[in-house]
Each structure stands twice: as C-alpha cells, then as structure tokens.
Amino acid sequence: MDQNNSLPPYAQGLASPQGAMTPGIPIFSPMMPYGTGLTPQPIQNTNSLSILEEQQRQQQQQQQQQQQQQQQQQQQQQQQQQQQAVAAAAVQQSASQQATQGTAGQAPQLFHSQTLTTAPLPGTTPLYPSPMTPMTPITPATPASESSGIVPQLQNIVSTVNLGCKLDLKTIALRARNAEYNPKRFAAVIMRIREPRTTALIFSSGKMVCTGAKSEEQSRLAARKYARVVQKLGFPAKFLDFKIQNMVGSCDVKFPIRLEGLVLTHQQFSSYEPELFPGLIYRMIKPRIVLLIFVSGKVVLTGAKVRAEIYEAFENIYPILKGFRKTT
C-alpha cells in the first residue's frame, strides 16, 4: 500500500504539466458524501459512472468491516499490554464505540498491513481520484478528471511590508515626484512606480501596502524599490516581514454557464443574486478561495495567499462548470 506524496505537483511552485498526476476531484470517492462542504463535487449523470460508484462503495464497505475487525483485535492486544486500568477502560470504550460506528474515517488505523490502495487515510482530504478498480495504482488522466489545460492568469497581487521606522509623510510627499498625499482624504502617501507598474500606500507607522503587480516576484521587487525610494529620502527604511496578502487570477473556460443551475446544485457554496450582481459568487472551502463565475464563462479567483491555491481552485471548479455545459 502506498499513498503517493500528498502534495500536488503544482503546490511546489511549478505549473501543473498536462497529463501528469492530476489531483482532480475525488469523483469516485464515496468517503466524501456530497456536500460535506470541503471539496466541491461535480454532479455525474451517466449511468456507467454510477454503477462503478456502487461497486466501489460495496468494496469499500467490505474493506471497512475488515479493518474494524482488525482494529478490535489490535486494541484488545493493547489492552493486555497496558497496566493502568483506566487507560485500558478508555481504549475498551473507544474500541466498542468504533465497532458501532460505521465510518472508517473515525477509526484510527494503527496497522496498515491490509489497508488497500482505495481507502484514503483519515484526516487527509482525498485530492486524488480513487481508481476505478481496486488494487490498481492511481492512474493519471482518467477521462473524468482530465486537467483542464487552462491556466488562470494572475492579475493582481497585494502585499505588505514593514519599513521598520516612523515616516514623515509630508516630507515624502514634498521630496518625491511620484507621491500624492491628501491627509483630509486618506492618511497615507500614495506612491507609484513605472516598472513594475504598481501603486503603494505608505503609512506614517512605516507599514506599506503594495498593489498592482502581476506576479509574486514583481511584487517583491516593487516593494523593494519603494523601500529604496523612502531610504533615499533620508529615512532608515528596512525591508521587514514582506508578505503576500492576496492574489487575484482570472481565466476563461470558453463556454457559457447556466448560473441558475449551478446555484441549485451547489447552493451551500454559491450565492447568485442577479438583481444585485451578474455573476455567481462561489466560496470554495478547500482551498479557501472566492470565485466569481459569469455567464460568459469568465472566472475570477481571489483570496489566495499562494499561486497554487488559485490553480487548485480552478482545477476543482472546472469539472463542475463542465457539468453545466450539457444542460443548454
């Protein structure tokens, strides 16, 4: 038995290559009942897939029963070894509880000797599609979990940095060409540089917000340039705690989407009020990203702290959106 490395390839900072080990949605994983609220599930309508699901469910139930029998035995052995009656009683209690509970997700898997490849470990959300037949290694590029081939483009990065010293905003506004300062309107200097094209809000406490960059590296470079400008103006500016606070990406799935249908099936994540806003607001829980989905197929993803979250969120939503294509 071997679960693969739980980090999807693109979490390591690389773009997900096509056809590679794609962590799609656990479409065939009956461990995640529809609508648990973690990873969104696409709605499958084809008969062949549901039959496969049934088969898998039966197999997994059998495995669960086997596992629980093992665990009961294991726990009885543990009991004999322990000398404290209290601990033994506790284990006995938990063993009897687990015997009555039907879900393997709550039973601790003490020995993995007979755990089959199809059973995901408890506590890890199954990011990979379970294989269609048991005892086969997880195959990449099963038809339903293909990579979409579309990569969201980053449009905006918001980052903050601490310059580490108090600043006199009036001096900065006086001696810098690219600064504007209107204390009655906003209590910060708004500074802009041309390369990378960004805007910074510089506060008198020495904290700075940098917006408008199109990549993490550009944001960092821009923040350093602002810090250098402030340094040259005579302040002992440092570059402390640079942190990316928000990343916004967008992409186009190139087909129209029935938003009313999407809100019906995924209503616990979606909010669609055409009287207020033409797009559907989808709040994905894992990863914690907010997606704005429009009828033209354009998708805006925001709320990410790392690039991988945007890619992961899009890979999660793409099969769901594809599912709504056929209903036109």
């Binding site: 400008v229 087909f255 809100v263 669609y272 207020l276």
Partner: protein, 419 residues
C-alpha cells in the same frame, strides 16, 4: 438580642441591628442609644461587587427585548401587512429578525442598517415561500439604497447561514403582469389597448421561458426581461392596432415604471424571434423585420421547442471549434452563409445555418484584444540601480519651486474677500 453585648446607657441586652440610610448601626431598642455604627464610606476593593455594570455587559440585554428591537419587530409586522403577505410569513420574518438580533454585530449596528434588516428578513421569508418580491420593491418601500440593502442582505444570509432560493420567475411574471393596468378600459386606456389578463399572462410566460432558454435571462436583472416580454405579448395579441405603440408609451399607459434595460432586452428578444422565423418556410418568404415579426409571435411560440432547436446550434461546443478555425471566418451570425457553402449544401433551399446559442455578451466582438501578458523573468531579488530610483526624487530646485507654489496658493486662499 442576646449575646451581642449590653447597652452602655441603660444596660439592656435588647440590641437591634438597624441601618440609618446606608450606615449600619447597632441600636438599643430600649433607650435608643447607638452602640456601634458601621463605616460610612467603603474602600475601593470593597466596592468591587457594588460597582455599576454597563448595560451591554449585564444580563439585562438577554432578559428583555430592547426598545430598538421592539421597534424593528413592529416594522417587520407592518411591512408584512403593507405587502399583504399571508400571516405565516409574519411569524417567520419576526423569527429571523430576532435571530439576527442575537448577533452582536447587528445589535450594535446603525439604525439605518437595522431598518434595512427589516426588509431583508421579509425578503428572505418571501423567497423561501416562492413569493415573488424583488429587492427593488423593498428598497422603494423602505426608502433605502440598493447598495446598503445588498450589503446587509449578503451579511445576514451569511451570518444566519440561510439557504435562500432564487427568485421564482414564473411567479414574478404573474404578479408583475397583473400590475399592468390594461385589463379594463379607462380614460387613459382606449378600448383597442385593453387585453384579456389570462391570454396576456400565458403568452408572457411563454416569451419569458423562451428568453430563459436563449440565454437572455442568466446574469441579468429579471424585471426588464419581463417588461419586454409583456410588451411583446400585448402587441402580438392585436398587432394591427398596437404596433404603433412604443415600449415607453405602453408602460405609461399601464402605469408601470419602465426599467432602463427593457429596450435592449426587447431588441434581443426580437432578434431571437427573427432567427426562429427563418426556420419556418412560410415566414422566410415574407422577409420579416423587427416590426413585422410581432404579428407571427403566436405561431412562433406554438412551435418554439423545435424552432429553437433548429434555429440555434449548441454554442458550448461551437465556441471551441471556432477557435481552431482559420481566422477568415467572421463572428456569430456572419457564419451562416459561409457555413452552408463549406457543407456543400445549396444556399437557397435550406434555411440559414443555425446561429450560435450563446449569451449576448459572448456574441459581441471583444472591445479590445487583450494581448497575452509577456512572460516576466523577474526574480524579485535583482539589483535596483540608483538612477532608476533617482528618477522618482525631486531635485532641490524642484522642491523649492513646489514649496513656493504651495505657499503662494496658501496665501491666495487665506486672504479674506474684500468687503
């Protein structure tokens, strides 16, 4: 009282503990002599338990309904009565208001927000019972801004974790159409404009369904579509007399506000109907335009399922293949003739090749072509040249000029106006 000592004056043992206002005293009940008295003042630490607690930290909030909450609940009931909602709605809306009030964020909100919250609770109740109440209607009744209403609404849905169904389009059509004052002759409505309610309702419903199917409703405010559909339905029931009436005049006659997007929805709906008319042989020869197609709306609606299927091909698959085709092909509707030729079919005999069934925003050509962003090779740790930074700093001369200009401006604004 025995065991408490004796009165020094008369020697009796009848000592009573009594307090003179806030001062505790031990008094002889026989002669009235004060034997001992307590301390008039208390120390700071003693007063720990006696100090006043602010209302928000006491339990008074939970025990009684605050005045603003009472006012809010009264407003909820009044709003339900004004809207003539069934009595069960009132209780549900009141329950939601009370539930919302338990959250501190709502308790401490401004009065404007609490007022809008009244509308939100009523709206949620109506939505859950499929009662077609629009946000615009509530905002008008409450004299509230739609922005304030929308932010409060989104907040309260999230806070209470409610599942609010979408606005029911069919119900909205029925309610909205019934509000048109065209079903009885009156001084402002001539006889030829009066229409039977049932006929108009059914035709409007069919038109709205057609609009929904052809992507004219998704993502848009529902009301303008219904206005356009009502207008078309009304016109088509007696086209001879009514074709001369414009949409604006129609709404004025019917005593209904004309929503701004209704005219563009009307054009879109007419375009769809024209496309459908192309599929019927006897209509194709008539070479209909946007005005004459109105006369045939009845026929078109009767066969709308098959007409839509033949007039439009699935836009979802088509958009992808369109990308791979040579750039010589035009957009959307222009493909009609070219498509026929490539398929080797004679042009005159077949109806126009199906147009793409896509939302109007996808059919329009993009305003500007967004170039693919250049792949940047920035690492974030490059050296920053001094010259680059110098360009953002003012020279001393510039600083002096700027200061002089500022001073001059200050002087100009501070000089009082001569009498």
């Amino acid at each position: 009282m025995p065991g408490r000592g004796r009165c020094p004056d008369c020697g009796s043992t009848e000592l009573v503990e009594d307090s003179h206002y806030s001062q505790s005293q031990l008094v002889c009940s026989d002669c009235g002599c004060v034997v001992t008295e307590g301390v008039l003042t208390t120390t700071f630490s003693d007063e720990g338990n006696l100090r006043e607690v602010t209302y928000s930290r006491s339990t008074g909030e939970n025990e009684q309904v605050s005045r603003s909450q009472q006012r809010g609940l009264r407003r909820v009931r009044d709003l339900c009565r004004v809207l003539q909602l069934p009595p069960t709605f009132e209780d549900t809306a009141v329950a939601y208001y009370q539930q919302a009030y338990r959250h501190s964020g709502i308790r401490a909100a401004r009065l404007q927000k609490k007022e809008v919250l009244v509308g939100c609770c009523v709206l949620i109740t109506c939505r859950q019972h499929n009662w077609p109440l629009t946000m615009g209607a509530i905002c008008t009744l409450l004299y509230a801004d739609l922005d304030v209403f929308s932010s409060t609404y989104m907040q309260i849905v999230k806070l209470l974790g409610l599942d609010v169904p979408s606005l029911c389009l069919a119900e909205l059509v029925k309610t909205y159409c019934s509000s048109f004052k065209l079903f009885q002759a009156s001084p402002s409505v001539p006889a030829k404009y009066v229409e039977d309610k049932e006929k108009m309702l059914s035709r409007t419903l069919q038109l709205v369904e057609l609009a929904n199917e052809t992507w004219l409703v998704t993502g848009r405010h529902p009301l303008p579509v219904i206005t356009a559909a009502t207008f078309l339905a009304w016109q088509s029931l007696q086209p001879a007399d009514r074709l001369s009436c414009s949409l604006a005049r129609f709404c004025k006659l019917a005593n209904v506000d004309l929503p701004y997007p209704a005219s563009s929805r009307l054009q879109e709906l007419l375009a769809v109907l024209l496309r459908m008319a192309e599929q019927l042989a006897w209509l194709r020869v008539l070479r209909l335009d946007k005005r004459s197609v109105v006369k045939h709306i009845g026929d078109l609606l009767q066969h709308r399922q098959s007409l839509v299927r033949s007039a439009f091909r699935d836009g979802t698959a088509e958009v992808e293949t369109r990308e791979k085709e040579p750039p010589g092909w035009g957009q959307g509707q222009g493909e009609g003739e070219v498509g026929n030729n490539s398929l080797g079919l004679p042009q005159g005999k077949r109806p126009a090749s199906p147009a793409l069934l896509l939302p109007p925003c996808m059919l329009k050509s993009p305003k500007r072509i967004c170039p693919a962003p250049p792949v940047s090779t920035v690492t974030g740790d490059e050296n920053i040249s001094d010259s680059e930074i110098e360009q953002y700093l003012r020279t001393p001369q510039e600083v002096r000029d700027f200061q002089r200009a500022q001073a001059a401006r200050q002087a100009a604004t501070s000089v009082p106006n001569p009498p």
